[in-house]
């Protein structure tokens, strides 16, 4: 495949209005909570008030007697998955852990852990019934901080979890569920070659994805054993698989209808409500809807890990990095699993280090099971590496941009975990910083500072399917399975339009249910525009192949003799348009249906750099972001507005992470701020306009050069902001968030 240059494109790079736009500005778009059914029952979930406790007994008898209650369930209503392991599309998962997170079995492992559920005539009745469920707990000591949980004498969450250290299991059960180790070169030699070595420790708090739409699921377990689920999810096929496994039926008996989704950012991949709604429906004989309240979202669903990261870098006096060493510990939360792998792989992913070692630990503790959050694991480690790098630049009196350029990875650089980069845009991104108006603009005034940071995310491929039906009016209905969180219907439709020489408006994209489209992995990993886009392009080529054959029938010639240019099919002076041919398809032969499936196993390697200007109020410790620019290699920006939107949205999430967002836990392990009032995500008054510069270094693995863009933008902000704070105040903030009380204290101690 060959990447074309921008001016060859008619559709790519333009900004058509999204196909689902009118529905979304008029309130007609159907989100998960908007579905209504006759005889619908409403469910509520009883959640643990304790962060760590043994469940001695649950008595639901009083709740069952409440008028209007249809069903009450506990973990006993689920089949016991025992030790079964299933691959749910993103690696093997121990089903007992997944199931016990959905409904606690034997122990509760975090405050907010589900222990029982009720379906009733209304949420109010269900809530009253919940209050009558008696749970007898034996309260156990909780452990919250990741390093505490690693201690020999820490309270143990699981008797059956052993440390997996590069394939070797530990002898005793441990909260440390995984230890990863990567190395490259000779670390001793690397540090010996250095003129300067700096080692620092960094901590980050648990932060939540913060999507505005709470989790929701409606299930209807039919009398014939078919289970239908309407839900808000990043992946309908993974919901189908997870739910089928947990309720113990073949996945072919489950159909998942993906509704419009009100944000996910990685947090809407694991199931929480779907299996519960399913069993409540089976027991009550009615469709059952479950909607979380906001406190349930914070307390019961995935934050991203809190972390401890130690980074040591060595450099020569000219700024050449000689060695890097990282020691990383992430919260797993209540059950094994989490982004420790990506954390280890990303910690030095932007720099060409000849010698490096990385050790990563994933640690169970009494927090909600951590989930993916936009470039999971990369933000934590970039925060550490970029700050150490900035300190080296300061010590060596080198320009921080030049230092990064000097060491930036390029085609052929090998990452510490093994892969060698193909054509990437890291250097081009830094060159764009160098040429940007922002980087060259003066920043003056007391307590003001500028910070620069680089970030990386792999961007995955995975599997996608697409079907495209050519309509006799010359349009194409595109059926795909990637739930649309941010305009992907349109970025996919544009790729099909470009392939076929049509306009974006002539493509009608539809996100289909699990019975109506081929298997498609989650909307995540910044993969949809790339991988589903690849499927869409191939489906377009399949259409062209079929239409060429029909044109051959029309002109009584061999299909190979037909030329296609844009939407025109021609041969020997004859030509016919896509629209005319589409109109004749039923006379000429079979209906034209393009189809394609793809499974690219490559990364599309997204690099981004952010520039932050801040001002610190030294009397209060409050940081104001004055100006902010995000620069990123998008490969090819299909719909530039949506690329910019990803960069802006990720930047602001990262600014929130840097400055104010955190889970506050009480001594008993209870979250103190489970509301949008006290979990302080940025409001529009807290941020400036977010300037964007899109760099386009085409991805060789996509016909249009597309790279994923969604995740990289959250990686640089905490580093860029804290480096800017250092330049404003002289203080390095090595604990996130750099909230006003924390920064004020640091300024006092400085």
């Amino acid at each position: 495949m060959k990447a074309a240059t921008s001016d060859e494109y008619k559709i790519l790079g333009t900004r058509p209005i999204r196909h689902d736009g009118a529905d979304k500005v008029t309130g007609k778009a159907k989100y998960g909570a908007d579905v209504q059914f006759a005889n619908l029952a409403h469910g509520k979930i009883l959640r643990s008030p304790h962060a760590h406790a043994r469940i001695k007994s649950i008595d639901t008898s009083a709740a069952e007697k409440v008028p209007g209650v249809f069903a009450v369930i506990t973990a006993n209503d689920f089949p016991d998955p025992q030790d079964k392991i299933a691959d749910l599309g993103e690696g093997p998962v121990t089903l007992s852990h997944l199931g016990s997170n959905v409904m606690a079995r034997g122990k509760v492992l975090y405050k907010g852990h589900a222990v029982a559920a009720v379906a009733a005539t209304s949420t109010h009745v269900a809530e009253q019934a919940l209050n009558l469920i008696q749970v007898d707990y034996e309260i156990l000591e909780p452990v919250l901080w990741v390093l505490d949980a690693m201690a020999e004498d820490a309270p143990l969450l699981h008797e059956n979890v052993f440390t997996d250290s590069m394939g070797e299991a530990s002898e005793k059960p441990s909260n440390i569920e995984k230890h990863l180790h990567f190395e490259k070169g000779d670390i001793e030699q690397g540090f010996a070659e250095a003129d300067i070595v700096i080692e620092r420790e960094f901590k980050t708090a648990s932060v939540h994805q913060g999507y505005i739409e709470p989790h929701v699921a409606t299930a209807d377990w039919n009398e014939d054993g078919q289970l239908r689920i309407w839900t808000s999810t990043q992946g309908s096929f993974t919901v189908r698989h997870q739910t089928a496994e947990l309720v113990g039926i073949p996945l072919s008996r489950v159909t998942v209808y993906p509704c419009e989704i009100g944000g996910g950012f990685g947090g809407k991949i694991a199931v929480y409500l779907q299996p519960v709604a399913a069993l409540l429906s089976r027991k009550s004989g009615r469709p059952v809807k479950l909607v979380m309240q906001r406190d349930e979202v914070f307390e019961g669903t995935g934050p991203t890990p809190g972390s401890f990261v130690r980074v040591k870098l060595g450099a020569k006096n000219d700024g050449t990095l000689t060695a890097g060493k990282a020691w990383i510990a992430f919260d797993a939360g209540a059950f094994p699993g989490g982004p420790i792998g990506p954390g280890c792989m990303c910690v030095f992913s932007c720099y060409d280090l000849p010698h490096a070692t990385v050790d990563g630990y994933n640690v169970c503790n009494n927090k909600p099971k951590t989930q993916a959050y936009r470039a999971p694991g990369s933000t934590h480690v970039a925060y550490a590496t970029e700050n150490v790098l900035d300190e080296i630049a300061g010590e060596l009196d080198l320009d921080p941009l030049d230092l990064r350029l000097k060491n930036a990875v390029k085609e052929g650089s090998r990452r510490v975990d093994g892969p060698v980069y193909p054509e990437i845009g890291c250097v081009e991104v830094l060159e764009a910083v160098k040429n940007s108006e922002h980087w060259n603009a003066p920043l003056e005034g007391p307590y003001r500072g500028r910070g620069l940071a680089l970030g990386f995310w792999f961007n995955c491929g995975l599997k996608s399917s697409a079907t495209a039906n050519v309509n006799t009016d010359g349009t194409v209905t595109l059926i795909e399975g990637s739930t649309d969180i941010g305009g992907s219907r349109t970025s996919l439709a544009m790729q099909l339009a470009e392939t076929l020489g049509l306009t974006a408006e002539e493509i009608h994209p539809q996100v289909a249910d699990t019975d109506s489209v081929g298997y498609t992995d989650v909307t995540g990993g910044s993969r949809v525009t790339f991988a589903t886009g690849l499927a869409v392009c191939k489906a377009g080529e399949d259409i062209q192949k079929q239409m060429r054959q029909q044109a051959a029938v029309l002109w009584d010639c061999d299909a190979n003799e037909i030329e296609i240019s844009g939407s025109t099919f021609s041969r020997n002076g004859n030509s016919i348009s896509f629209q005319e041919l589409a109109a004749k398809q039923l006379q000429l032969g079979e209906p034209i249906v393009g189809r394609a499936t793809v499974a690219p196993d490559c990364s599309t390697n997204g690099f981004g750099a952010h520039i932050a200007d801040v001002e610190v109020d030294p009397e209060t410790g409050k940081t104001t972001v004055l100006r902010y620019t995000a620069i990123q290699d998008a490969g090819k920006a299909i719909h530039p507005s949506y690329v910019e939107g990803q960069m802006q949205g990720g930047a602001v999430q990262g600014i929130g992470w840097a400055l104010n967002e955190e889970y506050f836990f009480g001594d008993a392990g209870d979250m103190k701020n489970a509301s949008f009032l006290d979990y302080r995500m940025p409001t529009c008054l807290d941020v400036p306009m977010i300037e964007t510069i899109i760099v386009e270094v085409p991805n060789p693995d996509h016909p249009f050069g597309v790279r994923g863009v969604g995740e990289t933008p959250i990686v640089p902000p905490p580093a860029a902001i804290t480096i800017a704070i250092h330049n404003a105040t002289g203080v390095y903030m090595r604990e996130l968030p750099a909230s006003p009380p924390r920064l004020w204290k640091a300024l006092q101690e400085a």
């Binding site: 736009g21 500005v25 309130g27 505005i212 009100g262 909607v291 939107g645 990803q646 802006q648 941020v687």
Partner: protein, 161 residues
């Protein structure tokens, strides 16, 4: 079963009657009883603005209004912004400006932004940000929302001058 209360009100210009329990919020009534699901529940606590509707000419979080309180009141929801099959300039500008990604906060932003432009046709960026601070968006970083409100202000100014 709790006794229900009869309420008469005007929603998007139409006289509407409904029955609700005293504890039902206006948001529950709109969504569950009247099928007006355009107003969204993000927090049920008055902190996110996704349920914003106009109540007697001022924007409110409909999760913090009881259904029984709207007897005799006039309510406008996101469903009432487009008129006669045509999008309002604020809606058109949100689409052209790509001011939505997931779209769950969009109805609340549209109701609040329209109210702002009716109160203050020429808001500064700061005034837009201040007045929309009660509406949370997690996808966009607000940039394109603020720019779309600015664009709508210009467009409305052109059509009235």
């Amino acid at each position: 079963m709790s006794k229900k209360i009869h309420v008469t009100t005007t929603i998007n210009g139409e006289p509407i009657e409904f029955l609700c329990e005293a504890r039902h919020s206006l948001l529950e009534v709109l969504r569950d009883s009247l099928g007006l699901t355009g107003s969204k529940e993000g927090c049920n606590n008055g902190n996110c603005g996704a349920c914003t509707v106009m109540l007697n000419g001022v924007p409110v979080d409909s999760c913090l209004v009881l259904g029984v309180e709207v007897e005799g009141a006039t309510i406008e929801t996101v469903e009432g912004i487009a008129q006669n099959g045509e999008l309002h300039p604020i809606q058109q500008c949100f689409l052209e400006g790509a001011a939505l990604q997931c779209g769950i906060c969009t109805p609340g932003f549209l109701v609040a932004a329209k109210a702002l432009l009716e109160k203050n046709p020429h808001p500064s960026e700061e005034e837009i940000r201040f007045n929309l601070a009660g509406n949370l968006c997690r996808c966009t970083g607000y940039d394109k929302i603020v720019r779309s409100v600015q664009a709508a202000a210009s467009q409305l100014q052109e059509t009235t001058s």
